[in-house]
């Protein structure tokens, strides 16, 4: 009995001295790293909670991606009409298409890609914060204001492309060429 007790205490001290387990009830539980900006007194009172959540909920790499591609004023943001390829963590592993719309809702941000596969139009809506989304790659940027990239689309949501396949092929023609 004493031997087992000693072994148990030795195990406890060994585990606590080398790798302090943040979750005391299991040593296989994975906890996300704490956010860089710790909770301030005004946050604890409830002021600006949603803005804090929008900044800290996605992991930092994903947060940087959202700030670069899906903000409203960033020069490298995704404009509707660009051709985008999304790589997923599972099958179907990749989907590419014309960006029809971006729905900006903070952590709930999503975008719709449209493509024509085997003579059938397919639209897929991806959520940016989903852990299944591995990579978002821009194949062809929509124009910013004339010049080499062409004039930008005059609409934020390009749902009219559903009824005009010729406009879709106009956009995709630039991809091959």
């Amino acid at each position: 009995m004493f031997r087992s007790l000693r072994a148990a205490t030795k195990l406890l001290t060994r585990s606590t001295s080398t790798t302090p387990s943040p979750y005391p009830f299991s040593n296989v539980a994975i906890l996300p790293p704490p956010p860089e900006t710790a909770a301030t007194p005004s946050l604890r009172k409830g002021k600006g909670i949603m803005q804090y959540i929008h900044k800290t909920l996605p992991c930092p790499e994903r947060q940087a991606l959202i700030m670069r591609l899906f903000s409203r004023r960033h020069p490298e943001r995704l404009l509707p009409g660009s051709v985008v390829a999304v790589t997923l963590a599972h099958a179907p592993t990749s989907f590419s298409g014309v960006l029809l719309s971006v729905r900006r809702r903070g952590p709930d941000t999503s975008f719709v890609l449209r493509n024509i596969v085997h003579r059938t139009g397919v639209e897929m809506q991806f959520f940016v914060n989903s852990p299944h989304v591995k990579e978002i790659r821009v194949i062809q940027r929509a124009g910013g204001g004339g010049g080499k990239e062409g004039r930008r689309m005059r609409r934020a949501k390009l749902f009219y492309l559903r009824d005009s396949p010729e406009k879709m092929s106009e956009i995709s023609a630039g991809v091959r060429g």
């Binding site: 099958a91 989907f95 085997h118 897929m124 989903s130």
Partner: protein, 133 residues
């Protein structure tokens, strides 16, 4: 969301071209809406003419206009949600004809099918489809 009177394109080589849904076979409910992977009872509205060889043979499956057959929905215009929140929507409604034992009538599929079929147990259709999205 395919219900009574909903029309679907047939994308296999059974001979039918357009079918109209008459009943959605879901457990516990006779009516209701069918989505991708649901079995439906349908009426063939338009079919390809039966070839003379098939007409002569007695074992070949002959699908004519007016037949009442079963089918499984493989594409819907209404968006379908995947488990991680993605939505997928096709430009038309499509189905593949079946017999009463849930086997396919045709031998080939010509077109995209939705990957939700795999989750509902139609692995055979998914394996012969040219593209699964």
């Amino acid at each position: 969301m395919i219900g009574l009177k909903g029309t679907l394109n047939v994308i296999d080589n059974s001979g039918a071209l357009l079918v109209e849904c008459v009943n959605v076979l879901k457990q516990k409910v006779n009516n209701g809406w069918g989505g991708v992977g649901d079995e439906i009872v349908c009426v063939v509205k338009r079919a390809r003419p039966v070839s003379p060889a098939a007409q002569a043979s007695s074992t070949a499956v002959k699908v004519r206009k007016g037949d009442v057959r079963r089918a499984v929905i493989v594409r819907t215009k209404k968006a379908v949600r995947r488990p991680d929140g993605r939505m997928i929507r096709f430009d038309d409604n499509a189905a593949v004809l079946l017999n009463n034992k849930r086997d396919m009538l045709g031998t080939r599929i010509g077109g995209v099918v939705s990957a939700d079929l795999r989750m509902k147990g139609w692995g055979k259709i998914v394996s012969i489809a040219p593209k699964v999205i």
